[in-house]
Amino acid sequence: MTAMDAQHEQHDIDRRRPHLPLALVNARLVDPASGLDAFGGLLIENGVIADLGMHIMEGSVEGAESLDCGGRTVAPGLIDMMVFCGEPGHEHRETLATASRAAAAGGVTTICCMPNTDPVIDDVALVDFILRRARDTALVHVHPMAAMTRDLKGEEMAEIGLLRDAGAVAFTNGKTSVASARLMRNVLSYANDYGALVVHHLEDDSLTQDGVMNEGEVATRLGLRGIPTAAETIMLERDIRLVELTGARYHAGQISCRASLEVIRAAKARGLPVTCGVSVNHLTLNENDIGSYRTFFKMKPPLRTEDDRQAMVEGVSRGDIDVIVSAHDPRGAEGKRRPFAEANDGAVGLETLLSAALRLYHNGEVSLHRLLDAVSSRPAELLGLSGGRLAKGATADLVLIDLEMPWKVEPERLRSKSKNTPFDEARFEGRALVTFVAGRPVYHYG
């Protein structure tokens, strides 16, 4: 990326322009953190929520502009805990700037970018780079997660203390599990001294081997090598023993099957500091969607059975699964237009996260509060971020949502540089209309 491109990408918003106070009026205010669900208004001043409630109406605040929400929902901006971004190293797939525009269009106001970059984010200088590039080019808040082992190799511990001081919000081994239980123990133990959250990918490599999709009937019919759910569950169970040993805060980045959900439930019941996430893909799609080798449905963990998907939905609904992520993973045609077994894993998702998740709400499977909690308040809580709530004094990271608006995903119109969406041509109900980051509108629908 050249400096010129960077300047060009900065066009969307002029951060220096002073803003008048803005009142969002005639809105349904939904705050999962406090349980608030009421009609009223919300006043944005100097980037924070200055006031909210019934008394904020059109013209009630002197000198403020007002935006009539027409009874639509105002909620905390979404916080996506798992975004793979190409910067640095794979800018042809995605930059922080393009990912942030996709995020803004999806109502996402904070993204956590994963350290699977080139070079890997395992050094203070890289954390600093991400934060500076985000400041200069991104529309939304960007928080780097740093590698917990050097170069993500799973061999030596990374500088967790220094990285955390530099601004890494959590530590992860990206798309691989740390195979060595001893190293994982050391990492958990050491991270715990700094109160750092460890986010782990769950996959026993020796069991996955050359598997490319969920193991079972569909894989057998398609003649594709399977990945058993045990590859995920074994790693999760091991990790939970290590959490027990170290007392560290542990988050399973994505679970994908009923068996893992049961392990998580048991761990929580024992009072362990264990949480987990699920991708919106695993809540809305299953292995049958692969159909005739559609590589846009190839991901890790793989899409599982319908029973597993239902378990995931139930897990979110009951709060056993804490957060929903997009697992946004931009891949170009060079990685996806290949035979299924050879194609890259991953799907973009920032722009469709909210709408896809709303399917669960419209189906009556998950309450609106729990759904929004899983994409805003809960991630904020886990990461220690200030956003994710509608409260006086909180940063005005907000999304105005039309819960009912029908729309169709047209891949070529996605803001992400890569168009590998499994929701190609999908029809959704509900989407972000306006997105505010620190009080500034960064996205308007239409």
């Binding site: 030596e156 511990m157 500088e159 203390g161 001294d193």
Partner: protein, 330 residues
């Protein structure tokens, strides 16, 4: 351990009792564990005298005239071995140094065989350092002479703890009630274990400060306050005792890097400011400047690191004197 025939049972007992306020009841010195506080205090008092003599022109005594002291070191050492050698010589003993690098043990001889062989040479005192915890005690069961533990694995290093206590006492005139922060690689440190035992026996408040990966399981059960933050652990400390960090700890991923370790656990002026203004800075040596201790801090006026070396000789003289009481006379 029952005392063998020695000075305390001979007609000269009254003379000996003058030199030794409390007769030392042990034949070996295998660890601080098992020593009473009065025995520790007696050894420190005796060391104090040895320290005085060490600053005189004539440093010699003949407590060990005709005796043989063997330094048996299975692990490399500079200061411990040389100070035992000097201590033995100042008491008139014949001193032999045997350094047995691990490679030559590979010839097949077991530790016990080595002990039996050495025993046949009829030494009176055996000073042993070994890389395995418990090895010195095992050896002591197979020989007829007095055995002094000069460090066994990550277990104990009693003379180091005694010399640390002596150094502290000379500056603070007491041990009881002092806050002592032992910082660094607690997990692998025999110095830490011996110090914890000794300082607790004498009524100090002992803290350990280290990343969790270098603390060891259930370390709080040793009677210490546990901290993972230097800023908290050093607060109001009277004594700041730094431990050596070994590079192997990074390779085995107990800590990420030297620079991170120094940033969070290295003793610099910023962290030292949390301790009492007259806190003593100690280090058992050899130091890694810039890893566990800032170079300027190591040379600060409050640093007693060089004095620790001097007291090392005095303490080892005292220990040899105390054990000499139990050497058979016929």
């Amino acid at each position: 351990m029952p005392a063998q025939t020695g000075l305390i049972q001979c007609p000269l007992m009254s003379i000996a009792a003058e030199a030794l306020p409390a007769p030392f009841p042990h034949r070996h010195l295998l660890g601080i564990e098992g020593l009473s506080s009065s025995e520790i205090t007696a050894l420190l008092d005796l060391s104090e005298e040895a320290a005085k003599r060490g600053r005189q022109v004539d440093k010699k005594r003949d407590d060990l005239r005709g005796r043989t002291l063997i330094n048996l070191f299975f692990e490399a050492s500079t200061r411990t071995q040389s100070s035992f050698e000097l201590a033995g010589k100042r008491l008139g003993a014949d001193v032999m140094n045997m350094s047995i690098p691990t490679s030559s043990i590979k010839k097949g001889e077991t530790l016990i065989d080595t002990a039996v062989t050495l025993n046949a040479m009829r030494p009176d005192l055996l000073v042993v350092r070994h890389h395995a915890a418990g090895a010195v005690e095992l050896l002591s069961q197979k020989v007829d002479c007095s055995v002094i533990n000069a460090g066994d694995g990550s277990h104990e290093h009693p003379t180091q703890a005694l010399l640390d206590a002596l150094t502290i006492r000379r500056h603070k005139n007491r041990i009881e009630g002092l806050i002592v922060a032992i910082c660094g690689d607690i997990l692998h440190s025999r110095v830490a274990r011996s110090n914890i035992l000794l300082l607790n026996a004498l009524g100090a408040r002992v803290r350990v400060v280290a990343p969790s990966t270098l603390l060891g399981a259930a370390v709080d059960r040793l009677g210490v306050e546990v901290y993972t933050s230097m800023h908290e652990g050093l607060k109001d400390a009277d004594i700041v005792m730094m431990l050596r960090l070994q590079r192997e700890r990074m390779v085995s991923s107990l800590i990420p890097s030297q620079r991170e370790y120094f940033h969070f656990y290295g003793l610099d002026y910023d962290k030292l400011a949390r301790a009492k203004p007259d806190a003593l800075i100690m280090h058992p040596g050899p130091m890694n400047r810039g890893v566990e201790i800032d170079s300027n801090v190591a040379d600060d006026a409050r640093s007693v690191i060089r004095e620790q070396v001097e007291m090392g000789v005095a303490v080892r003289i005292a220990v040899l004197q105390a054990l000499a009481q139990h050497l058979p006379n016929q």
